[in-house]
Amino acid sequence: MGLFDHFRPVSTWTARQVRKFLGERSADAYNLVDVRQPGEYENGHLPGARLIPIADLEDHLHELDRDKPTITY
């Protein structure tokens, strides 16, 4: 992650916007990341979401496609 990545604007979407976005695209068109803990993920997660707890996020950034939009929750 470069210095300028810290200054990239990040927009916040409502659940409704996210639902519409996901419903209109195939799963390979975006990165969907669940940043909670494994136990929370196990109890229920958005279908197809990757589990990357927030503390581990930096170590796993390379697994995400930078050319695609990323949605986190």
Partner: protein
């Protein structure tokens, strides 16, 4: 996403990420993933076939019958994939320790699900089926990600797209049934 998971009013899949992915990573290739998918689709098909026969109303029965056909199509797609990638025309064998059609999505034994469904109304069964199909969607998306081969990835992504379509039809019927209440 504003509000995180608490704000989410859409579908959710359940299950341990590591447990689910452990099988994918252990699997040496597409053949094992197809084998697991094929067995689970057969389990789902057996479930829908029985609940269609025992449904309390014709609308529910017709809907579950349409899901039986959908599961058959998915099995055909998987059979076709294994035929192309491994040159095998027979039904994919179930994974070791699993009898074909004995488990549904999420690792639920078909027999237990059918015992639970006995005497239940269309709405209850539909709610259960939606939770189950959300797990199918989750699994196909992850399988699409796990395979390196383009053709296989396309097939798993297409199956994920179909599951998404089924879920939309199911939630739409559930909404209608709830409005009538």
């Amino acid at each position: 996403m504003a509000g995180g998971i608490n704000a989410w009013d859409g579908l959710v899949a359940e299950g341990n990420y590591d447990a689910g992915m452990a099988y994918f990573f252990r699997a040496s290739g597409v053949e094992e993933l197809v084998s697991l998918s094929f067995s689970l689709e057969e389990g789902n098909r057996v479930f829908y076939e029985r609940v269609a026969r025992e449904a309390e109303d014709e609308e529910g029965a017709a809907f579950f019958r349409s899901l039986v056909l959908a599961e058959e199509r998915h099995k055909e797609t998987l059979r076709d994939l294994i035929s192309r990638s491994a040159g095998k025309d027979a039904d994919p064998a179930p994974p070791e320790g699993m009898e074909a059609g004995s488990f549904m999505e999420g690792g639920i034994p078909v027999g237990e699900a059918l015992s639970w469904a006995r005497g239940k109304g269309t709405r209850d069964i539909l709610e259960f089926a939606i939770a189950m199909e959300a797990n199918s969607l989750d699994r196909y998306i992850k399988m699409g990600r796990a395979v390196g081969n383009d053709r296989s990835r396309e097939v798993f992504q297409a199956l994920a797209g179909e599951e998404q379509g089924h879920l939309e039809r199911m939630t739409s019927l559930l909404d209608r049934l709830q409005e009538r209440k």
